[in-house]
């Protein structure tokens, strides 16, 4: 056999041969990966392989002939798990292996009586049928013998109405389906459940021929602990495990189905989605396998909770309040009405009587436009976004410490990290794909510290779960710093060369009374010490934090405390380390980047600096006279959201424009919010549903969901990704970008029509870290800012130096929250709130999907001891009350919370949990303290 070199063969490049041709090999790759990489046209069929899973080697269909010399003796080896080695000769399609493949597939078919043979070419073939076709099996020669189908349990079906007949299919679940008559025992589902999601809901019962897939202890999908991530359905090659949408997809002719790639809007992970669309209707959503963020995985919200998009509850016409009633109006009427109203308020009370709240659910372009309208058209810096109520302390604190208020590293760094510090975050619920990645690490033994008042899913796997009292993060973080310093575990070189103000900081830390702090926070000093020492000794430690850090009166300070720990141990500026906020909303990073903050404009320039004002005027075309300056440029810092409410109540704020945010339901101390909004002259709400806030509006403008618009979202790791409309805006609705553009024009400011690519051009001109971003070069997987001209992006910040030059240490004493000081005695329990997996914030979207069938209410978790003392029974109704108000809800007795702590979610508006939450906010950013509410409880 002759060999030709297809590539330049340098002396040290190791080579192997595929069908006689030499190719360079990569370290650690299997023969299958090697073959697919070097000769993409050569197709080695497999059934059990999924490139995201560990090689399994069960189907043997990928077997190839392997020799150590061209003419040497050959051995048959499974290519998926045999490493390719130097000098190896691989024959992927020898007569022997082709026969072997055919015979194996024939065996599989001998146990699939329902499979039609022969399989003929068609677009709807599933993966298994494609392999049947490729291996050329047209008949089964074995006499009909034992069939797995004969011993399958006859259905868990409690829903036979749906099918009409008793069959093998498990219909129990709102989304998931399992029909073992189609199963080929490749175990991809079992492995995906374990290796991707980490739930281990699926396993196998029995052995040998009788082996079959089970859920839990052989129960139905609905009874099992399945979290409906759909990883099993996505990897299944036969459709034995499927879901309600995918099942239907099989029926339609795939030629008529468009696939649109976009980005999920349910959290800051930024999962890429592939939306199947037929006749302007969505039929199914899957996760693209080549997505850098989520590699074919996503959660039940991204994959299944999309039917809200054409829900009958959608708003479809502008509404104007006339005679106290909201009544339909045309778009022209609405814009005219608003232009007049805004102009007159501005004329009467000045531009600062008008404010805007932008939406982290909307695109960068839309956020940019709304802040531009407020600043350049209205003439006020009164623009804020929901980052205020979630991660504003992160942005503030990290800017103070490092100079940039964003994640220093990428989620991909989890692959390299050797230690994880997780503070005040429950990612398996709130950031499921990142949560699953962290869980994979933890299960495989990567040491994990969880600092959280709640025993979260990840806390179960943590070596150290420091279950502190809510509100004492600063105390515990200072304790950790104390032990790192006192045990001489500080990275001296890093501290000396990269930071400032260490000496003062260290002195203050060493002066702390550790026993007192341990008592305050209710933690075991020895546990904190061992955790701190392990963190400091780790080679590469990554920290993650969530709203359990920020939504506190000392939120910003706790952020700076985390930054202190990161700098003490030198865990920043390289791969596998860093400080990484888990951003709550899909585009909360972007909303702040785009300038939806009262103190900083697009690109984070402070608004009260004359140089910056000049910069903005120039870039918005005002200074050059390209557009008429319709207004004097605002020069002072605007209102933060809580200040907007106060100003409204005080009569200083007259008009509020809210784009896609239900502040009535989601902002704390609801009575206060309602009173404030009632006092406005004009409340404008852009919404897709008739939310609690929309109900109070004077003008309601029907916007669109992410599935109907183009633009970009920036995820929690600064990755700017393309959002693409899967369907046209619902009839009567406009995209939120179009709404703002038309409003700007109606106010006399010429703004070009909304288009994602041209908007990005404008933004790239204003925001320096977007300089190299174009709609084109974002590609499928986006770019991580800062992006230099030419498109080079940045995975890791602060590599050689910090954005602010030197990293700065900050010392803050622990301070008890005013909430506890003022109300702690009368209301002795601490309520802390969070999200669950199934719902998203106010439930506006998820509650209009079948997720509602999975979780249908907010419940209160109470420690068994407290339940006993209060005479509260599991699943009984209780009254929860605070200094502000009271609600009733169902209690569940649980060890997830310590004595004295209560926990609930806030997804169900009828519950109005924010009737009890307070108005204490973070000292620096006014982020509300949702996580510490003094309450009491009694049985009803």
């Amino acid at each position: 056999m002759t060999s030709t070199m297809s590539n330049e063969n340098s002396a040290d490049q190791k080579m192997a041969f595929l069908n006689g041709v030499a190719y360079p090999i990569a370290k650690g790759e299997s023969i299958l990966t090697f073959s697919r990489r070097v000769q993409s046209q050569i197709d080695i069929p497999t059934l059990c392989d999924d490139s995201r899973l560990e090689p399994y080697g069960s189907c043997r269909v990928c077997s190839v002939d392997v020799a150590l010399a061209a003419d040497g003796p050959r051995r048959v080896m499974a290519s998926c798990h045999t490493p390719v080695a130097e000098g190896m000769h691989v024959f992927s399609h020898s007569e022997r292996v082709e026969k072997l493949r055919k015979n194996i597939v024939e065996l599989v078919l001998s146990d699939l009586p329902e499979q039609q043979l022969p399989v003929s070419e068609s677009e709807q073939l599933n993966e298994f049928e494609q392999v049947v076709l490729a291996t050329g099996v047209t008949e089964v020669r074995f006499a009909k013998g034992k069939q797995s189908i004969d011993s399958l349990p006859r259905v868990f079906d409690n829903n036979t109405e749906e099918t009409g007949v008793e069959d093998y299919c498990d219909h129990s679940h709102p989304y998931m389906r399992m029909d073992l008559a189609k199963c080929i025992d490749c175990n991809r589902c079992v492995r995906a459940c374990d290796e991707i999601q980490g739930e281990q809901v699926l396993s196998v019962h029995g052995r040998g021929f009788d082996a079959r897939i089970i859920k839990g202890q052989d129960v139905s999908f609905n009874e099992s602990d399945c979290v409906s991530c759909g990883a099993c359905a996505q990897t299944c090659p036969t459709g034995a495990i499927s879901d309600v949408f995918r099942d239907k997809l099989v029926e339609v002719n795939s030629k008529d189905v468009d696939k649109v790639r976009t980005v999920c809007s349910y959290c800051g992970v930024g999962c890429n989605l592939e939306v199947s669309v037929k006749d302007n209707k969505i039929s199914s959503i899957e996760a693209p396998k080549d997505a850098e963020v989520n590699a074919g995985h996503t959660c039940l919200k991204g994959r299944y909770a999309w039917r809200f998009y054409n829900h009958p509850d959608r708003l479809t016409t502008p509404l104007i309040r006339r005679d106290g009633e909201l009544s339909p109006a045309s778009w022209d009427e609405a814009f005219d009405y608003l232009a007049n109203k805004l102009q007159s308020i501005k004329a009467d009370h000045g531009p600062d009587a008008i404010a805007g709240i932008s939406s982290a659910r909307c695109t960068n372009e839309e956020n940019y436009l709304l802040q531009k309208m407020m600043r350049a058209v209205i003439g006020t810096n009164n623009i804020d976004c929901c980052a205020r109520v979630c991660h504003s302390p992160t942005a503030y604190g990290m800017q103070k410490s490092f100079g940039t208020g964003a994640a220093t590293n990428s989620i991909e760094d989890l692959k390299q990290t050797e230690f994880i510090l997780l503070i005040g975050a429950n990612p398996t619920e709130a950031h499921p794909v990142t949560g699953a990645k962290i869980k994979q690490k933890a299960m495989k033994g990567t040491p994990l510290i969880v600092l959280d008042p709640v025993k979260t899913e990840l806390a179960k796997y943590a070596q150290w779960h420091i279950q502190l009292r809510p509100g004492t993060n600063v105390a515990v973080l200072n304790m950790m710093a104390y032990f790192i310093i006192s045990e001489n575990l500080v990275d001296q070189h890093f501290v000396e060369t990269r930071t400032e103000e260490y000496q003062d900081y260290a002195q203050s830390i060493l002066g702390l009374d550790i026993d007192e702090l341990a008592a305050i926070s209710g933690v075991d000093k020895a546990l904190v010490k061992s955790a701190a020492m392990a963190y400091a000794k780790a080679n590469k430690a990554m920290s993650f934090h969530g709203l359990g850090v920020t939504e506190h009166s000392q939120g910003s300070r706790a952020i700076m405390c985390i930054a202190d720990l990161v700098m003490l141990t030198g865990n920043i500026g390289s791969k596998g380390v860093g400080m990484n906020p888990l951003r709550g909303q899909n585009n909360v990073q972007g909303a702040a980047d785009m300038g939806c903050q009262p103190h900083q404009g697009a690109g984070y320039y402070t608004v009260d600096d004359s140089k910056n004002i000049e910069y903005y005027q120039e870039h918005y075309g005002i200074k050059q006279g390209l557009v008429d300056s319709v207004t004097p440029w605002p020069t002072k810092v605007g209102y933060k959201i809580p200040e907007m409410f106060n100003a409204a109540l005080a009569g200083d704020l007259k008009a509020l424009w809210i784009m896609g945010e239900d502040v009535v339901q989601t902002d704390p101390n609801q009575q206060h919010v309602v009173a404030s909004l009632s006092n406005l002259e004009l409340l404008v709400v852009q919404e897709i549903f008739y939310s609690e806030t929309a109900k109070m509006a004077d003008v309601v403008l029907p916007g669109t969901s992410f599935l109907e618009k183009n633009g970009t979202f920036t995820n929690g790791e600064r990755r700017v990704q393309r959002v693409k409309a899967a369907v046209a805006p619902k009839a009567g609705c406009k995209t939120d970008g179009d709404i703002v553009v038309e409003m700007m024009n109606a106010l006399g400011h010429p703004q070009a029509a909304y288009a994602a690519d041209t908007m990005l051009e404008e933004i790239a001109d204003v925001v320096p870290f977007f300089a190299g971003i174009t709609w084109q070069n974002l590609g499928d997987n986006g770019l991580q800012w800062p992006v230099a001209k030419g498109g080079t992006d940045t995975q890791i910040l602060h590599q050689q130096k910090f954005t602010r030059g030197l990293g700065k240490f900050h010392f803050y004493q622990f301070e008890e929250s005013r909430e506890i000081v003022e109300h702690g005695e009368e209301f002795p329990f601490i309520l802390t709130t969070s999200r669950n997996l199934e719902h998203y914030n106010a439930g506006t979207m998820t509650r209009r999907t079948a997720n509602e069938l999975i979780v249908s209410e907010d419940v209160l978790l109470i420690n068994p001891k407290d339940a006993q003392n209060k005479g509260i029974k599991h699943q009984s109704q209780v009254k929860l009350f605070s200094a502000r108000g009271e609600i009733e809800l169902k209690a569940q007795v649980s060890n997830k919370v310590s004595a004295g702590v209560l926990f609930t979610t806030f997804h169900f508006p009828e519950l109005m949990i924010n009737r009890v939450t307070g108005d204490v906010t973070d000292t620096h950013t006014k982020c509300p303290e949702y996580k510490v509410v003094s309450v009491d409880i009694c049985s009803v």
Partner: protein, 559 residues
């Protein structure tokens, strides 16, 4: 395998494993208890359920029976079990009778088990008494003989303390490297059947990176007809423990685990006793190095004799075969470097490292090397079943002619047409081939057979070879882990083909059978599916006259 489950099992530790909870804890059957176990071990409930359902004696059809009848190949060939089963049914009722695949009572047959006690030979005549008092002593007897000048594996160990002194002596005198070289120089090869060089394996575990390492003794002697490991664990457990201790010292492992099959209760008991004696010796180990033993009790799954399945079994995973590489010495138990060796391999170590032989200074490794043909060295235990006049355990030098062993055992006790040597996956040796074979890996493989674990079962003249083929497929189908298609589906289809031919329903399509055997041989993930074609091909070759009436040559016959 699941890396997550391996790692979580490591976290739980070897003292209280999920698997042993399922095997030993009576309170592990209800869904509520299993839910608790899942929580305790941080795994999904499906893992507990899936694992339990794999084993005959946990959730399998054979769980919780009052009596078990042996259905191993030797008892089958001896034709004794119909009567035994009938007696057991009479005593306990049919629904209370399960089966165990080989209790290792092959020297006498008529084997059965009651409440964890094994019986054979004339014991069945005493069933009423045994049923009353299951601890009644069995009247078991088999021969033990050795043809060597100085016994290696069958040598008695009278003074346990003195026996272990060798450890302190050699570790004081020799470096780890020197001792590993000795093991390699002896030519010792794995006795489980694969014949992998032991010194090489131990050294690669030593060189593997890892804070924790393990030594695992594969005492899941599932091959029907083999009981030499049972003999060693029952009669010479210290020889095994010493080998594990040395392997641990030489590789850096500090934990030795013996995975002993449930079907061998006395082996478990005697090994436990030996471990206690070892602990009582309070041997003064070196600084920073300790060694502890732990017994894991199996639960009735032949596949657990396959090393990766065995490791998964210890971890509480479903014991399905894992891909290799990585080999256990790189990533074995709990994902840590692990030496897995057979009982007999470990038991050979003392002799090899001993420098005093026959009262004089002699290098054991050299002595060991001198036995055999240079490639297969040392001695080998042979298990002979009741087809021989003097059935028992015979220790012979490697290279000993097979006929010499037969003579030693007093020849055959009945008319035999073939020997099944080396377990269910070993070859079927016709009488005409006996002269050609010597006891070593090479001779067997050159002649198209397999030495394996050197168990020998006589197949009587009257036993139909087509029935034996059915038996082999049936065994494979029953014991297949179910992971790879060639074995999972192939063994069942093979069984059906043969059974259809026997019942006269349909003759065997020769091409299809050839295709099936080739598919299993080339395509199977492990030696179970890959190995069973060998004895079947032997039967097709050597007993073609007997088989041909059941075959049809199809017109589309391939090359």
């Amino acid at each position: 395998m699941s890396k997550n489950l391996s790692s979580l099992a490591k976290r739980a530790g070897v003292e209280q494993t999920l698997f042993q909870q399922l095997v030993l804890n009576e309170n592990s059957k209800s869904p509520q208890q299993r839910e608790k176990l899942a929580k305790k071990f941080l795994v999904g409930e499906s893992v507990v359920s899936g694992t339990a359902s794999f084993y005959d004696f946990i959730d399998g059809e054979n769980a919780d029976k009052k009596a078990y009848v042996c259905n191993g190949s030797s008892c089958l060939c001896a034709g004794t079990q119909d009567k035994v089963k009938a007696e057991l049914i009479k005593q306990f009722g049919e629904e209370h009778i399960g089966h165990a695949t080989c209790l290792g009572r092959c020297a006498q047959n008529k084997a059965f088990q009651i409440q964890g006690n094994n019986f054979s030979a004339q014991d069945i005549d005493n069933l009423a008494q045994i049923a009353k008092e299951p601890t009644t002593k069995s009247n078991e007897h088999y021969h033990v003989a050795c043809t060597l000048d100085e016994a290696i594996l069958t040598a008695e160990i009278n003074d346990v303390a003195k026996y272990y002194q060798l450890f302190s002596q050699v570790t004081a005198k020799n470096s780890v490297d020197e001792l590993l070289t000795k093991v390699s120089d002896s030519g010792l090869r794995g006795r489980g059947g694969a014949g992998f060089p032991t010194g090489f394996k131990w050294r690669s575990c030593l060189e593997a990176k890892g804070d924790d390492k393990y030594v695992v003794c594969n005492a899941d002697e599932g091959d029907a007809g083999a009981y030499s490991d049972r003999y060693l664990l029952e009669e010479r457990p210290h020889a095994v423990l010493f080998g594990m201790l040395m392997a641990g010292y030489l590789s850096g492992a500090q934990t030795g685990i013996l995975y002993i099959r449930d079907e061998y209760p006395v082996a478990i008991e005697n090994t436990e006793k030996a471990i206690n004696e070892f602990v009582a010796l309070n041997i003064d180990f070196l600084e920073n190095w300790q060694f502890t033993f732990k017994i894991i009790r199996g639960a009735g799954a032949y596949i657990c004799g396959e090393e990766t399945a065995l490791l998964r079994s210890i971890e509480g995973q479903r014991p399905v075969v894992s891909v290799r590489p990585p080999f256990p010495t790189q990533s074995g138990l709990f994902g840590c470097p692990t030496i897995v060796n057979n009982v007999e391999t470990f038991a050979s170590t003392h002799f090899i490292l001993d420098t005093t032989h026959g009262g004089t200074e002699k290098c054991g490794a050299k002595k060991y090397l001198a036995l055999g043909n240079g490639k297969s060295t040392g001695s080998k235990l042979i298990s002979l079943d009741s087809a021989f006049n003097k059935p028992g355990i015979y220790e012979v030098s490697m290279g000993t002619p097979l006929t010499e062993v037969i003579n030693l055992a007093g020849g055959f006790a009945k008319n035999i047409k073939a020997l099944h040597i080396g377990g269910p996956l070993g070859g079927i040796v016709p009488m005409s081939a006996l002269d050609k074979l010597t006891i070593d890996f090479e001779s067997f493989s050159e002649n198209g057979f397999l030495l394996g674990h050197a168990s020998v079962i006589g197949i009587p003249n009257e036993f139909s070879m087509i029935d034996y083929m059915a038996h082999l497929f049936e065994f494979t189908a029953a014991e297949s882990c179910g992971k790879c298609y060639p074995c999972q589906i192939g063994s069942t289809r093979g069984q059906e083909m043969i059974e259809n031919a026997i019942s006269g329903k349909q003759t065997i399509d020769e091409t299809l059978l050839t295709d099936l055997l080739e598919t299993m041989q080339l395509g199977s993930l492990c030696a179970l599916g890959g190995g069973v074609p060998l004895p079947i091909q032997n039967i097709l070759q050597y007993f073609s006259e007997e088989i041909s009436p059941f075959l049809t040559s199809s017109t589309t016959k391939g090359a």
